[in-house]
C-alpha cells in the first residue's frame, strides 16, 4: 500500500503523542536523543582523540583548550566523555536487546505452554533472581572473562529472568482473551499465536521493560567497569573513567564529574522515557519491582 492507511496515520500520531505526552517524557526522549546524537557525532564534535596521552598537560583544570579539563595522562576529558557515549549506548543496546529477546521469548512460551515447562522455567527464574545480582554477575564474568559478548551474556543472565517474569505475567493476561482463543481454535501454531496475537499486545509492556532495563543496564555496565570487569583502558568507558579519576575527586573533580553527569543524564533520560511510555501506554511500570 502506497499511502499510509488511516490506522497507520493514527499509529504514528499515537507515537508522536507518546513522545510528547508530558513535559517529563519529552525531557526523557530529548536526553536520550541528545546522547544518541552526541555519540554519533563524537568524531566530529570531540576536539581531541579520546585516547592520546599528553604528558605536558596532566590534570589540567577546564580551560578554553580543554573545556572539561584533562585527566592524569593529559587526555581531554570532554573528548573521552563524548566517545564514552558511543560505548555506553552500544553496549547498553546490545545487552538490553539480549535481555529483552531472551526474557520475552522465555516469558511468552512459559505463559503459552503453562504446565511443567512453566513450572520449571519459573523455578529457574526464581533461583537466578535469588542470587544477589552482583554475585551472579561476578561469577559469570569470572567464568567467561571480559568483553562485550561476555557482558551481554552476563547481563542477560542476570536480567532476563526478571523480564521473563514480567512478560509472562503480561502474556497471561492476554492469552485467555478471545482473540487468542480464536487463533488457537483456528489451529494456529504456537509461534504464530505468540508473534501475531500475543506479542503485539504485550509490546507496551516489553517497550517499557526495554527502557527501564536499559537504564539499569547502563548502571550495571558502568558498575562492572568500575569494578574492573568491564572495558579495558584506555577505553573511554564512563564507569572506567570514574574509577580512574575517583581518587582525585577532591582536587580534580572535572575528570570524574563529566562521566558521572553523562551517566546520570542518560539514566535519567531512559527513566523518564520509560515513565512516559508506561504512562501513555497504560503499563504499570513497577510491576516487576527491582531485581
Amino acid at each position: 500500500m502506497m499511502t499510509l492507511s488511516g490506522a497507520g496515520r493514527r499509529r504514528w500520531g499515537a507515537v508522536a503523542g507518546v513522545l510528547t505526552g508530558s513535559r517529563s517524557t519529552l525531557i526523557g526522549f530529548v536526553l536520550v536523543g541528545a546522547h544518541l546524537v552526541l555519540a554519533l557525532a563524537a568524531p566530529v564534535l570531540a576536539p581531541y582523540s579520546p585516547i592520546v596521552n599528553n604528558g605536558a598537560l596532566p590534570i589540567d583544570a577546564p580551560s578554553l583548550a580543554h573545556w572539561a579539563g584533562t585527566d592524569q595522562l593529559g587526555r581531554d576529558v570532554l573528548s573521552r566523555t563524548l566517545y564514552g557515549g558511543r560505548l555506553a549506548l552500544t553496549d547498553t543496546a546490545l545487552a538490553t536487546i539480549g535481555v529483552i529477546i531472551v526474557g520475552t521469548a522465555v516469558g511468552c512460551l512459559a505463559a503459552y505452554w503453562r504446565g511443567w515447562f512453566d513450572e520449571v522455567v519459573m523455578r529457574i527464574v526464581d533461583a537466578v533472581l535469588s542470587v544477589p545480582t552482583i554475585l551472579a554477575l561476578l561469577v559469570v564474568v569470572t567464568v567467561a572473562g571480559s568483553g562485550t559478548w561476555v557482558l551481554m551474556l552476563a547481563v542477560t543472565t542476570v536480567y532476563a529472568p526478571a523480564v521473563a517474569r514480567v512478560v509472562r505475567a503480561a502474556a497471561l493476561e492476554v492469552i485467555p482473551l478471545d482473540y487468542v482463543t480464536a487463533a488457537r481454535a483456528r489451529g494456529e501454531r504456537a509461534f504464530a499465536v505468540l508473534s501475531r496475537e500475543v506479542l503485539p499486545n504485550i509490546l507496551d509492556v516489553v517497550l517499557v521493560e526495554t527502557a527501564m532495563r536499559a537504564s539499569w543496564v547502563v548502571l550495571l555496565i558502568s558498575s562492572l567497569s568500575f569494578l574492573g570487569f568491564g572495558a579495558d583502558p584506555p577505553s573511554p568507558d564512563w564507569g572506567l573513567m570514574v574509577a580512574e579519576n575517583r581518587s582525585m575527586l577532591a582536587v580534580a573533580p572535572w575528570a570524574s564529574l563529566a562521566p558521572i553527569i553523562a551517566l546520570a543524564t542518560l539514566v535519567i533520560g531512559l527513566n523518564l522515557a520509560a515513565d512516559g511510555l508506561a504512562k501513555s501506554l497504560g503499563v504499570d511500570r513497577m510491576r516487576g519491582g527491582v531485581a
Partner: protein, 317 residues
Amino acid sequence: MIRYVLRRLALAVLTVWLASLGIFLAVHALPGDVATQILGRDATPQAVAAMRTELGLNEPLWQRYGDWLSGALHGDFGTSLVTHQPVADELTLRLRNTLLIAALAIVLGIVLALVCGVVAGLTRDRWPDMLISTLSLAGMSMPEFVIATLLALAFAVAIPIFPAVVTAGPDATVAELLPALWLPACALSVVMAAYIIRMLRTSVIDTMASEFVATARLRGLAPARVVLRHALPSALLPTVNVVAMNIAWLLGGVVVVESVFNYPGLGVLTVDAVHNRDLPVLQAIALLGAATYALLNLAADVVAMLLNPRLRRRAVA
C-alpha cells in the same frame, strides 16, 4: 494459612536448592586449578596432587556437590581455602556486621520511602510530588559507587562527621562499628528508597482513583479517614513485594558500598571470595543470599496476606 505458608516454604526451599546447584556448577566451571592457586606458582606437582585430594577435587562433581550439600544442611559449610577456618565462623561476624548496615538502611529507607511515596501520591503533579519524584529519579540514576564516594567525600573528608573508612576488623564490637554504619546505610537507603517511592506513588495514585475510594468519599467520610483507612492498606499492598526485593537487593548493593567504606561485612568477603576462588566461602554466601531472598519473599507474601484479606481467606480454603 499455615498450609499456605508451608507450601510457600517448600517452594522457597526448592528455589534455594536450585540456586545452590547453579552456583555450585558455575563456581566449579571457573577456569584455573584451585589447588595450584592455593599452593602458589612454585608448588611441586606432588603437592598439587595432594591438595587436590585434600580438596576432593578428584571426586566426581555430583559427589562433591552432594557432600557439600549434606554438610551445609548440618551447618557445616566446609573450610575456607584461604584462611583454613570453618566458613561458618568466617561468615557469622561478617553477617552480623552486614545485618547492622542492612537493618539501618532498611529502617531509613522504608521510613523515607513511606513518607515521601504517600506524600507524592497524594499531591500528584503538584510541587511536593515534583520535588520527591525528581529526587527519587536522581537517586535511581546514580550508581551506588558514585553515591557512596560522594557521601564519603562530603561527610568524612570535607565535613568530618563520620569516619571515611572502617579501620576495625570483622570482630569489632557493635559500639565500634556504630559511627561507621551511617554513611554506607545512607548510600544504600537512597537507592532503595528511590525505587519504593516511585512504586508507592503510583500505587497511591491508582488506589485513590479506585471505585471504592470514590464510594467512600460519597458516603461523606472525611478525607483523612478515606486515605488512612480505606486507601492506604490497598496502596501499600503492591509495595510489600517491592520492599522485599529491595531488601534482597541490599545484599548485592553492599558489595560495592562496603568496599568503598572498607566495611568488614559480607560484601567485602564476597569480592574476596570471588577473587581468591574461595569456593566454600563463595558457595556459603550465595546460599545465604538465596535463602535470604527466598525468606524475604515468603515474608512479603505473609505480610501481603495480612494486609490483604482476600489472600488470607483464599489461603485458608
